[in-house]
Amino acid sequence: MSYGKSVLAFEEFGFRPGKVERVVRETSKMVSVYIKLHLPNLPRPGQFLMIWVPDAEEVPMSVSGAGRRWVRISVLGRGKTTSKIQKLRRGDLVGVRGPFGRGFSLKGKSHLLVGGGSGVAALIYASKTISDQKKECVFLIGAKTSSELPFLREVKRLNQKLLMATEDGSAGYKGVVTDLVEPILIKKDFDSVMTCGPEKMMVKTVELALKHGVRVQASLERYMKCGFGVCGSCVLDPVGLRVCTDGPVFDGRILLQTDFGKFKRDAAGRRRPI
């Protein structure tokens, strides 16, 4: 066969058993789960796993940390499955497939990370990798209130510059995180901006970065049934991209030609305004 590494095996779409090693509360809303799992390679920042909780459903989750024998996911309780994940205990089993998708490109020497909500999960792993590569980054994290700001100590431990924004002003800047983007883009030169979080926030960040001529990548969330490119449920119209395999990280310029920030498909495939 001449297809080389770009051909996957169907077995990669089966589940591997992952044993919960540790469950850590990050904020009032977010819980991190450390899963014992042997992966052939470290996931790239921005890649995600499909996590099947045998008593609930299977959902996509960004890798928020990983080592040679473990991965971490960091979960906001949003519905049935995410709240089951939050209740997992040491020794529990989950089914894992992946890592899937394309991650962030970490080219360049200085990066601006802009995250909010569950999006901070993907970015904390990116910032760890950036640190490991001895590169620089500034991390902007936004939340409603200070108790919902995750990974603060972790960012500090990485010795990275951190700016916070809370809507109620209980920590850092009072307002939304995107308010911090333009000032810092003016003050400092970045090779790239990476963003993950609520889609409106990402749209704003992408627009600002492009306005200032900085390459920007955004990591999207779409409804996913398979995670590996067959079902089509994660489509990004009208260009026909699949978030699971062509993404979840996309270049900002491409995203502006799509329904990014405007529509997403629901489980039936109906287009819904965001």
Binding site: E57, V59, G240, A268
Partner: protein
């Protein structure tokens, strides 16, 4: 006209490699598949009303295949024809798959689809029929006749029927042909299941599902081989096509075209151009002027 052009009755396609139903599903992705080299695309099977489908997991990888029970998730035929179809430039290369609950639904959806300007309809007779307690329509020759006859009666465009692997495959296909079907697509997935030994649970939320992919290719090939011998209408081979060799096997066995499903998972959308290029090279090397001459040219034994 290129070596690869095929005629499927009234349908003329630039090449015989189609996207199978239920893969990629949405309008913009079907458009992309056409741009990436598919000869035609078949939509997700559309139902009267939109369906969310079953809870995840709905598809899982196994040895050389997938087992899925997506549950016919689709936005409903109206929504699809309105939103998704508009994203596709060449509607004359779109085949709309229909999963109706009884002849009337098939007719209704098929008529609307024809009005929307598509190339052909594919009647999915191989998914469990609700009113008949989960029995596949294809296993019930009488029902096959009614659905095909009624749909054929109201349409101008070709009517394909998609069959599953079952004891009645040949008989039901002959009935479909007799009732006016323009082509038979064989085969759909085979009944299967996957168990997770660690949690001791079935993996799919619906417990059982259907097996697709290279694993079923030798089975599908035999179905096509036998159908080709029995039918006068074209047979379209589906099941485990993943490269030009597996496609060519179907064509040699008598298929007029092939459909690619699961292989999209391992090869991405480049699978279409890879197959058509391989096929073109093969035709040239073996001196076939056109893919038509290749079809059914399997030599006997000794």
């Amino acid at each position: 006209m290129s070596r690869l052009t095929v005629k499927l009755g009234k349908l003329v396609l630039p090449n015989p490699v189609m996207l199978a139903s239920g893969i990629l599903s949405h309008g913009s992705l079907l458009e992309k598949a056409l741009r990436e080299g598919a000869g035609a695309v078949v939509t997700k099977s559309l139902t009267l009303k939109g369906r969310k489908g079953y809870e995840t997991p709905v598809v899982v990888g196994v040895e050389e295949g997938l087992v899925n029970a997506v549950g016919l998730a689709n936005p409903g035929y109206k929504d699809f024809l309105k939103n998704d179809l508009q994203m596709i430039k060449e509607k004359n290369r779109v085949i709309v798959s229909i999963a109706g609950d009884g002849p009337d639904e098939f007719v209704k959806i098929a008529s609307s689809a024809e009005d929307a300007g598509i190339a052909a309809v594919e009647l999915n007779l191989s998914c469990p029929h609700v009113k008949k307690h989960g029995l596949e329509i294809g296993k019930d020759p009488k029902l096959v006749r009614r659905i095909v006859k009624d749909t054929r009666g109201v349409l101008k465009i070709p009517v394909h029927v998609k069959m599953g692997f079952c004891d009645e495959l040949i008989r039901s296909s002959l009935v479909a042909e007799d009732a006016g079907a323009d082509a038979v697509v064989a085969i759909n997935t085979l009944p299967a299941m996957v168990i997770d030994v660690y949690s001791r649970k079935p993996i799919l939320s619906r417990i059982c599902g259907g097996l697709s992919g290279p694993a079923i290719h030798p089975i599908a090939l035999r179905c096509v081989y036998e159908l080709y011998r029995e039918l006068s209408i074209p047979v379209i081979g589906c099941g485990g096509v993943k490269d030009w060799q597996t496609a060519t096997e179907f064509l040699l066995a008598g298929a007029k075209a092939v459909q690619v499903g699961s292989a999209v998972a391992i090869k991405g959308l480049k699978v279409f151009s890879e197959i058509t290029e391989g096929l073109a090279k093969y035709l040239k090397e073996y001196g076939f002027e056109s893919v038509d001459i290749l079809m059914g040219s399997l030599e006997g034994k000794k």
